[in-house]
Symmetry: C2
Subunit: 221 residues, 2 copies
């Protein structure tokens, strides 16, 4: 039996929320791979990225199809346009998690992050994961306030990243070039995951209000 238009639209949003859950798992698994040198977790994230890419292609196709067949207007058009962007955000967060897992795998059985830097990355990873979770909840509940709160988390991520550079570039850094390069790129990947979570929040605000949030916290760094 053919689903009705509204059922199709609802199932796009439901599947976006499910995809967000999967991306959160990817971020958490990648972090476990990285900070506990868990090779199986690294392989899982890298393998699951293919599944996320397939989800992306399927959801994107359904959005296009709805746009083409139904010529939606107002709130429904906004939802579909926002869904197209969110599915791209989510695929990108999956890619970034796989990048993290690949660095973990490349350095195995050693750890990529020196012990002194682990608390910083641990905190960054918790924040990034919470932001992905908040993005999913925001989307599920259309809760604009939650979306705005995410920007604060993003600020702490920026501070952690600044701290990373201070440590990496200090004369007392004695872990060599490889660890420094790894940490610089890993920090970048977590930062970008957080940026995409913030963007997802801003897309929900757009669905609910029809407006794009203003202000520095919402621009892409």
């Amino acid at each position: 039996m053919r689903e009705s238009y509204h059922e199709e639209l609802t199932s796009v949003v439901t599947d976006l929320v499910t995809m967000t859950d999967r991306v959160q798992t990817a971020v958490q698994d990648a972090t476990r791979a990285l900070l506990t040198t868990d090779l199986a977790a690294a392989e899982k994230v890298i393998g699951d990225d293919v599944v996320l890419d397939r989800l992306h292609d399927d959801l994107e196709q359904r959005c296009f199809s709805l746009l083409a067949r139904q010529s939606p207007v107002a709130g429904e058009l906004r939802t579909l346009v926002a869904a197209l962007r969110m599915v791209a955000d989510l695929a990108r967060m999956g890619d970034l998690s796989a990048h993290i897992a690949k660095i973990a795998r490349m350095r195995y059985p050693r750890g990529a992050v020196p012990e002194s830097m682990q608390p910083n990355f641990q905190r960054m990873a918790v924040l990034a994961s919470e932001m992905v979770e908040a993005a999913g909840r925001t989307l599920r509940e259309r809760n604009v306030l939650d979306a705005e709160k995410m920007a604060d988390h993003d600020e702490e991520i920026d501070e952690l990243r600044t701290h990373q550079f201070r440590v990496l570039l200090d004369d007392s850094w004695n872990h060599g070039v490889e660890a420094a390069v790894d940490c610089a790129l890993l920090g970048r990947y977590y930062e970008r995951i957080a940026d995409h979570a913030v963007l997802m929040g801003s897309r929900v605000i757009y669905i609910v209000t029809g407006l794009h949030p203003e202000g520095e916290n919402w621009t892409i760094a």
Copy 2:
């Protein structure tokens, strides 16, 4: 006098091409800032990024408005959906150029890239700039073959990046941690500019054929 729907749609594409030209200039100026320690060029790229962001917001708004008012179908719907993504690609390439310029500014009056690495970055920058130019031409001329050729350029970028890591992480590297971290991030930024150019090419293929290109060269790394 109010523009007709088709005139509005044509002017969106024309302005996307113009924005692509500006992004190419940003990539070139950022490279000059980086490789000839040209502080004025760095400031120009960083300042112009605000203009690119404004162009992005304006074009995005016009796409939304056309989608909402005209309920386009078939080729026109594809053009608008692709335009929304291209304008996001272009804004992102502008951000990445500004990131490059900021590293150049931060290290001024020293250069961020050691002399031995300059030919590698020079080549990477030429390829990235040519790819942005090809993306603009592809869009202007709806030339699918040109879009497919871009994937080859992207492969050379990947090889240059692999070479960078080999040099950075070799025991003979004697430029210290800061230069290594700078080079790793700079390489990442050029690589991402190239990725977005490839994506723009794939969006043109989508406009022309209605199909998303398949194959490894088209996935986002």
